[in-house]
C-alpha cells in the first residue's frame, strides 16, 4: 500500500501554512475505492476510518484514535512520553487538559519511581534533539498516534477493547483446534444416505456430496420463496408496517379473532402452521370434532402443555393424561399401535416430561397424513379462506373507523361526566 510505484497511495510532503508536513497520505479514500472495488464513497470513508482507528494511519492535526493498553510497562511509557512533552518547547507541544490530568495522576501513582521516569524522559529528549528535523516530526506524530490509540481522548471509541467473555483467552491462548472432521463424534449422527467411511480420493466423491446436498438446498429455497410474501423486510406489510407508518392497525388485526386472508392461506403450508396459530388451531379442532376425531389434537396439545409444566406438577399431569386418553376405559381414547402403547404404559411408571413422546410422535404423523389433508379440503377451511378474500382495505378501514368512533364517544362521555 505504501509503495507508490506499485499502485500504492501517493505520499508527499505537503506545504501547509507555516511549515511542511512530511509524509502525508493523500486522497486515501479515493485510493481505497479504486483498489478495493468499493462502490459507495461512504463505505470507503468508513473503511478508512476503521484503518485509522486501528492506528495504521493517523490524522496529523487531530487526536481521534482509540486504543487500549495495560500493564506497567506501558504505564511507564506513558509517563515517560508525557514528561518528554513537557520538556520540549511548550509553545509547540502543549499538553491537552486530559493529558495534564493523566500526568498528574501518574506522578502520584509512581511517586517513588518518578525520578527514574524523569531521567528516562530526559535521556530520550536528548537523543531526539540529535535527530533530523523531519525525522523527528514523523516520529513525534507516530508516538502521539500510538498513545492516542492506547490512551484515547475522553469520549472516543476504544478500538482495542475486548469482549469481556474472551478476556480469559488472553491468559491461556489456545490454538483453535480444528476437529478431525466427524470421525470421532459423528458415530451418533444419523444421515441415512451419509457414507463417511468411503475414501474420497476420486473427484466423483465431490459430485456425490453436491448431489446429496441438492434436495436439502431446494427445501431451503422453497421455504424462503413460499414465505417471502410474509417477510416484511421484502414484501411491504398490509395494511402498513406499524414501525414505519406509526399506525398499529396491523397488530390490532393480528390480535383479533378475524385473521387476514394471508394468514389463513399460511395454514395451508404445513400442519405446523395450523398448530402454531391459536385461531387456526381452534378451526382445526372444530373440524376434527365434526369428524369425531378431536381426541388426537387434544392429546397432542395436552402433551405439549405437559412439557412446559414445572417439575413438581409433572407426575400429576402424566397421570391425568393417561387416564383421559390411554387407560383402559379412557374418556377420549386415542388410537395407538400396540408397540407405542406398550412403551408408553411403561414410561408412565416413571413419569417425566417426555413420557408421552413416542405416542405424541405417532399421533402427530397420523394427523399430518390424514386429518390435516382433509381439513384443507373441508368446507370449514375453504369457507374461511373465501370469506377472507374480501379486500384487505375494507376490513382495515372498518376496524380503524370503529376505533375512531369509540374513542370519540369515549371522549364525549368523559366530557359529560362531572
Amino acid at each position: 500500500m505504501q509503495d507508490d510505484k506499485a499502485g500504492g497511495v501517493p505520499i508527499r510532503t505537503v506545504k501547509s501554512f507555516l511549515s511542511k508536513i512530511p509524509s502525508v497520505v493523500l486522497t486515501l479514500w479515493q485510493w481505497l475505492m479504486k483498489n478495493l472495488s468499493i462502490e459507495d464513497p461512504v463505505e470507503a470513508i468508513h473503511m478508512g476510518s476503521l484503518i485509522a482507528a486501528q492506528g495504521y494511519i493517523f490524522p496529523i492535526s487531530d487526536h481521534v484514535l482509540t486504543l487500549k493498553d495495560d500493564g506497567t510497562f506501558y504505564r511507564f511509557q506513558v509517563a515517560i512520553y508525557l514528561c518528554k512533552r513537557t520538556m520540549q518547547n511548550k509553545a509547540r507541544l502543549e499538553l491537552a487538559d486530559y493529558e495534564a490530568e493523566n500526568l498528574a495522576r501518574l506522578q502520584r501513582a509512581f511517586a517513588r519511581k518518578w525520578e527514574f521516569i524523569f531521567m528516562q524522559a530526559e535521556a530520550q529528549v536528548k537523543i531526539d534533539r540529535k535527530k533530523d528535523k523531519t525525522e523527528r516530526k514523523i516520529l513525534d506524530s507516530q508516538e502521539r498516534a500510538f498513545w492516542d490509540v492506547h490512551r484515547p481522548v475522553p469520549g472516543c471509541v476504544n478500538t482495542t477493547e475486548m469482549d469481556i467473555r474472551k478476556c480469559r483467552h488472553m491468559k491461556n491462548p489456545q490454538k483453535v483446534k480444528k476437529s478431525v472432521y466427524g470421525v470421532t463424534e459423528d458415530s451418533q449422527s444419523q444421515s441415512p444416505v451419509h457414507m463417511p467411511s468411503q475414501p474420497i480420493r476420486k473427484t466423483t466423491k465431490e459430485d456425490f456430496r453436491k448431489k446429496f446436498a441438492n434436495p436439502h438446498v431446494n427445501i431451503l429455497i422453497t421455504y424462503s420463496d413460499q414465505y417471502i410474501e410474509y417477510d416484511p423486510f421484502i414484501t411491504p406489510a398490509e395494511p402498513s408496517n406499524p414501525w414505519i407508518s406509526d399506525d398499529a392497525t396491523l397488530w390490532d388485526i393480528e390480535m383479533s379473532k378475524e385473521p387476514s386472508q394471508q394468514r389463513v392461506k399460511r395454514w395451508g403450508f404445513s400442519i405446523d402452521e395450523v398448530l402454531k396459530d391459536p385461531v387456526g388451531r381452534d378451526l382445526f379442532l372444530r373440524f376434527l370434532e365434526s369428524e369425531f376425531s378431536s381426541e388426537n389434537l387434544r392429546f397432542w396439545l395436552a402433551v405439549q402443555d405437559l412439557k412446559r409444566q414445572p417439575l413438581q406438577d409433572v407426575a400429576t399431569r402424566v397421570e391425568e393424561i393417561w387416564q383421559e386418553f390411554l387407560a383402559p376405559g379412557a374418556q377420549s381414547p386415542i388410537n395407538l399401535d400396540s408397540h407405542s402403547y406398550e412403551r408408553t404404559s411403561q414410561n408412565v411408571q416413571d413419569p417425566g416430561r417426555y413420557t408421552f413422546e413416542d405416542a405424541q410422535e405417532h399421533i402427530y404423523k397420523l394427523m399430518k397424513s390424514d386429518s390435516y389433508a382433509r381439513f384443507l379440503r373441508s368446507n370449514t377451511y375453504q369457507d374461511f379462506l373465501l370469506v377472507k378474500k374480501k379486500p384487505e382495505n375494507e376490513q382495515g378501514r372498518r376496524t380503524s373507523l370503529e376505533k375512531f368512533t369509540r374513542s370519540v364517544l369515549g371522549e364525549m362521555l368523559c366530557g359529560l361526566s362531572p
Binding site: 468508513h46 476437529s179 436439502h216 431451503l220 421455504y223 424462503s224 414505519i244 417439575l311
Partner: protein, 315 residues
C-alpha cells in the same frame, strides 16, 4: 503409515472435499434466482437509557416488548414502539436459583407469560416457562429447571467456551457455537450431540436457526458467516467479502429466511441475501461495535444493541 495416520489423512481429505463443494452448492443453484434487490432500512426508534455497553437483547413474543442487558448491571424492559421503559430491573440474588448465581448480567429472556430476567454468565435460551438452557464457562451447556434450580441435563463435548446458543423452532434440539470453531447439534431430551459442524477458522460468536429448523447460520471472528444444513450435514454457503475484516458478533434471519442480518465489530450490520450469498444492504448508525441483534417474531423489525449503549430498531 499407521492406521491412525491413515484415518487422519482421510478425515482431512473429507474435510477439504466438503469445503470445496459445500461452498458452491447453494450459490450454484441460486445463480439463476432473482436477486432480492437493495434492502434499505432506516432507524425507526433509538432506545436510550443504558449507561454502559449493551451485551444482549431479546424480543418478547408480542414483537413490541424488548429486554436488554448492559454491563452497567441493569436489565431494562422497553416498550420499543413507544420507547418507554417498563422499568429497569436489578435482579435480586434471592430470586435466582443458587447454582445460577453470577456477578455479570449477560443475558436474559422474555417468555410469554412472565418477564424473567436473570444473571447468567453467558448465552442462554429459554426453552419454556420452566426450563432454560445455558452455557457454562467450562465448555458445557446445561438444562435447568428454573423453579427448583436443579440442573437436569449436561451437554458436554466442546473444547472451547460456548459463546452462543439457538433453540430449534420445535424446541427439541439446539445448536451451540463455541471458541473451538465448531457447532454442535444437541438433542434436548437425551443430551446427545447429534452432529458436529466445522469449517470456521476462528471463534464462533453467534448461531441462529433458519426459520424451518432445517439449517442454521453462524457468525465468527474469522469475518465470515456460514450456512449449515442439518440433514445435508455440511456447509452450504459462506457470506464474506474482502472488505470485511472484522468479526461477527450476532446473526439473525428475516421471517422468510431470505435475508441474513449480521452485526459486526466494525460498528455496522450487513444484510445478506441468504440464498444467493450477496450483500443486500447495510445498517450503519452505531458508534461502536454491534454486540447483539434480533428480529421480531412477526418479522416487522430488527433491533440492534451496541457497545455505544444504544439500541436501534430498524426496518
Amino acid at each position: 503409515m499407521s492406521e491412525l495416520e491413515q484415518l487422519r489423512q482421510e478425515a482431512e481429505q473429507l474435510r477439504d472435499a466438503r469445503k470445496s463443494c459445500g461452498d458452491s452448492t447453494l450459490s450454484q443453484i441460486t445463480a439463476a434466482m432473482d436477486p432480492v434487490g437493495r434492502i434499505q432500512m432506516r432507524t425507526r426508534r433509538t432506545l436510550r437509557g443504558h449507561l454502559a455497553k449493551i451485551y444482549a437483547m431479546h424480543w418478547g413474543t408480542d414483537s413490541r416488548l424488548l429486554v436488554s442487558a448492559s454491563q452497567d448491571g441493569k436489565l431494562i424492559i422497553w416498550d420499543s414502539y413507544t420507547t418507554n421503559k417498563m422499568g429497569p430491573l436489578v435482579p435480586s440474588l434471592r430470586s435466582t436459583p443458587s447454582p445460577l448465581r453470577s456477578s455479570w448480567v449477560m443475558t436474559y429472556n422474555i417468555c410469554p407469560s412472565t418477564c424473567w430476567g436473570g444473571m447468567l454468565p453467558s448465552p442462554a435460551a429459554l426453552l419454556d416457562d420452566n426450563q432454560i438452557i445455558t452455557s457454562s464457562g467450562d465448555t458445557t451447556c446445561a438444562l435447568w429447571d428454573i423453579e427448583t434450580g436443579q440442573q437436569t441435563t449436561t451437554f458436554g463435548g466442546h473444547s472451547g467456551d460456548v459463546m452462543s446458543l439457538s433453540l430449534a423452532p420445535d424446541a427439541r434440539s439446539f445448536v451451540s457455537g463455541a471458541c473451538d470453531a465448531s457447532i454442535k447439534l444437541w438433542d434436548v431430551r437425551d443430551s446427545m450431540c447429534r452432529q458436529t459442524f466445522t469449517g470456521h477458522e476462528s471463534d464462533i460468536n453467534a448461531v441462529c436457526f433458519f426459520p424451518n429448523g432445517n439449517a442454521f447460520t453462524t457468525g465468527s471472528d474469522d469475518a465470515t458467516c456460514r450456512l449449515f444444513d442439518l440433514r445435508a450435514d455440511q456447509e452450504l454457503m459462506m457470506y464474506s467479502h474482502d472488505n470485511i475484516i472484522c468479526g461477527i458478533t450476532s446473526v439473525a434471519f428475516s421471517k422468510s429466511g431470505r435475508l441474513l442480518l449480521a452485526g459486526y465489530d466494525d460498528f455496522n450490520c450487513n444484510i445478506w441475501d441468504a440464498m444467493k450469498g450477496d450483500r443486500a444492504g447495510v445498517l450503519a448508525g452505531h458508534d461502536n461495535r454491534v454486540s447483539c441483534l434480533g428480529v421480531t417474531d412477526d418479522g416487522m423489525a430488527v433491533a440492534t444493541g451496541s457497545w455505544d449503549s444504544f439500541l436501534k430498531i430498524w426496518n
